[in-house]
């Protein structure tokens, strides 16, 4: 009935006086690799928390794969995978224990959870650290484990909050390989990242949020041509340039610091 993997209508979130997310209307089609961009404090993490049921919206509607999150949270959560901001790992478990636990939380039977855990450990290169507690893992290992836990049940939509933050090139390579496999099997990926080069390479579509409002949405090429048309300088713009032009980062003159002159 629907081709939309993620759809929000009038999504708002207030924290006291602060309106962190204002009337956001997102449209993410199924199978898209979607980048959700914005400056620090723009409302990216707040939005992703609302989309994954970890934060209640003040107003608005969220539909994931056609299901209303407010009415059917369990149905929605069964079909999505999440790597949240703080990774949400139970760090007093070992890697295999955590993955089998996560698999069973998403409804896999014991045997399937164990089989997939073994495959994921091999894929992420964590198979030789099966006895260490997660608390003793490096940051990159934790990221890979969080990603593995998010995909163990084969979600149709994957939400990733800054998946490449603080990981080295090798770990990033593993994560990208995993994401590409997800896309190849028809899943939708919704990620936030500050590393615009990676977003440009991976994502086909992006949305940009600024001061809690959605200021742009579409394919990267559409945004690029739109910005180029407006600025009329004839050059092919990088995503970073597009981003800076849209959020006004280029226009703002960098103020001087008197004592650093």
């Amino acid at each position: 009935m629907t081709d939309l993997a993620v759809e929000t209508n009038g999504l708002c979130r207030r924290f006291g006086e602060l309106e962190a997310v204002r009337n956001v209307n997102l449209r993410v089609e199924a199978g898209q690799f979607f980048g959700f961009l914005g400056p620090n404090g723009a409302g990216k993490s707040t939005t992703i928390k609302m989309l994954t049921g970890m934060l209640e919206p003040t107003a608005g509607q969220i539909r994931i794969l056609g299901l209303d999150l407010a009415n059917d949270p369990i149905g929605v959560k069964s079909q999505i995978g999440v790597v949240p901001e703080g990774l949400a790992l139970f760090d007093r478990l070992t890697g295999p224990e955590y993955l089998t636990f996560a698999g069973r939380m998403y409804g896999l039977d014991r045997v399937t959870a164990a089989e997939r855990t073994q495959e994921l450990l091999d894929f992420t290169g964590l198979a030789d650290r099966t006895k260490s507690l997660i608390v003793d893992y490096s940051h990159g290992m934790k990221k890979k484990l969080a990603m593995a836990a998010a995909v163990i049940h084969g979600p149709k939509v994957l939400f990733l909050d800054e998946p490449f933050e603080g990981v080295d090139a090798i770990a990033a390579g593993t994560l990208k390989a995993m994401l590409n496999r997800m896309i190849a099997r028809g899943a939708t990926i919704f990620l936030t990242s500050h590393v615009l080069e990676i977003v440009e390479r991976l994502c086909s579509h992006v949305a940009i949020i600024h001061h809690g409002e959605l200021v742009a949405q579409g394919s990267i090429d559409d945004l690029r041509s739109g910005v180029a048309a407006r600025h009329d300088d004839g050059q092919k713009l990088s995503l970073e340039q597009v981003f800076l032009k849209i959020v006004g980062g280029e226009r703002a003159a960098v103020p001087e610091l008197s004592w650093l002159e």
């Binding site: 994954t52 049921g53 970890m54 934060l55 209640e56 949270p73 369990i74 149905g75 929605v76 959560k77 069964s78 999505i80 999440v82 949240p84 703080g86 990774l87 949400a88 790992l89 139970f90 760090d91 007093r92 478990l93 295999p96 224990e97 993955l99 089998t100 636990f101 996560a102 069973r104 939380m105 998403y106 409804g107 039977d109 014991r110 045997v111 959870a113 164990a114 089989e115 855990t117 073994q118 450990l121 198979a127 030789d128 650290r129 099966t130 006895k131 260490s132 507690l133 608390v135 003793d136 836990a149 008197s258 004592w259 650093l260 002159e261």
Partner: protein, 549 residues
Amino acid sequence: MAGVISAPDKSTQLFLVGWLRWRLFVNGLRTATGKLNLAVHIIMGAGISLGIVGFGVLLGVGSWYAIGHGKPALLSGELGLVFLVWLLFPLVISGFGAEADPVSLLRFPLRYSTFLFLALAHGVFDPAAAACLYWLAAMLLGIAVASLSALIWAIPAFAALAFLNLLLNRAIYAWLSRWMAQRRTREILGAVGILLAISGQFISPLANRYGHRALPWVTRLASGVRVLPPGMAAATVTFGRAGTPGKAGAEFAGLLAYCGVVGWLLAIRMRAEYRGENLSEARRPSAEARAPVRAGWNVAGFSPTVAALFEKDLRYLLRNTMAYLTLLTPALVILVLSMGRRGSPHPKITGFVLGSSTYFPMGVAYVLLTVVGLAYNSLAYDGLGLPMLFAAPLRFRDVMVAKNLLHSMVLAAEVIIVFVLVQFVGGPTPPVIVGLTLAGALWAFLMNLTAGNLVSLYFPRKLKPGQMRRQQASGLSVLVSLGVQVVVAGLAAALYFLSRWAGNTAWCVVCFLVLAGITWVAYRHVLDLVSGIALKRREALMAELSRPD
């Protein structure tokens, strides 16, 4: 480059640190929970303060008597008590508060002297230290009333003792922090600490059994206490009062020597900390054998989700040395009580005249108090993993059911252990006592689980597994738990005595079972509410429990 400035002077830095602490305190009161917790602390603090003031008066009178009537041993004993409270109380209760650790300020150009001063100042503002300083002042007052000449020696002696305690407290804190920086050593030290605490309970029974043989050794050991700091401080005062300044001066010099040695030990650690010693959690990477992944557990009668959650919680418990050693104490207490009874030729010496029929209820009561402590803050150790529970397709009811299941199994296992032990050490327990105890425990446990599930969601407090430093549940949680215990104990006692008065204690068993049935209905009702409450409070729960360390 212009504008490079030198580090601010010490007084400015101290002022800034004071301001920082004040702002942290004030900002902590922004939430309703913060305000309520402060209120609870004020109320509880007021009660404790009354005890401290009263004890100070007692110590003051004692000092007056010791000096006025020539009882130096009494003065030495009082100072020894203050010495021990000052050192031990903060270590057990509040000495490991990382939030006041000046190491966190090292990124700033903090002078070493300021760093050292802050470390010591934190020690002075510890509640135990403040109480001990007040007690020393009360003792000085008592001495002043008894003899002004003794006061002249008492002031420097007590000041040196207080300074030594301050240094010693910080030195112990700094060295223990060093050893406890790694999780494994921390858990080992925690285990040793608990075993020491438990072994303390063996002193009385062992004294009853072997006291007469050990007396000469104890006497010899006690004479050695004379050369410890409290003994030296007392000797300084008594020699000074007796008009032998040479001896008094020698004792005082001994005290200063203690200060020097302890200060040197503290300086070693403080220098290392000031240089930025990294006390990290990380272990040296080591090769691990690849092991096949085992399938998760099944728990008969429960959904796979509850089984997986139960498995996770049990693994957490077994990896938390402090928690499961605490859970073992009831069984040990039974052994201790039985030793006291059997070892003493005069059972009244132990303070208890116990029969086999009292061991089982006492043991089960102790078990209950230990286990329900977990139920009132059952999300405490979930920490950073908690958001996963909100992201996963599960009802929070399952989370609480898994936790309650774990608590029930721990309780059942401990009750069985206690029962078996009691049969060995105290003889067979009468069936009616067994019935009464089990029925009462069932009711009390359900009451506590019902209240605990709500309190865990409304007043959670993050705890770190295997850690010995300040780890307290929320003040409100403690208050509710206390209220439930009072209600349960009061009702249970009333029903028991009523049934005895009626001449049929079996009726009490029936009453307990009826109450347990009613509480079961309430428990189920609360479980039905839990998912909604958790969803409504998910932000507050994650803010409290999932904040980074």
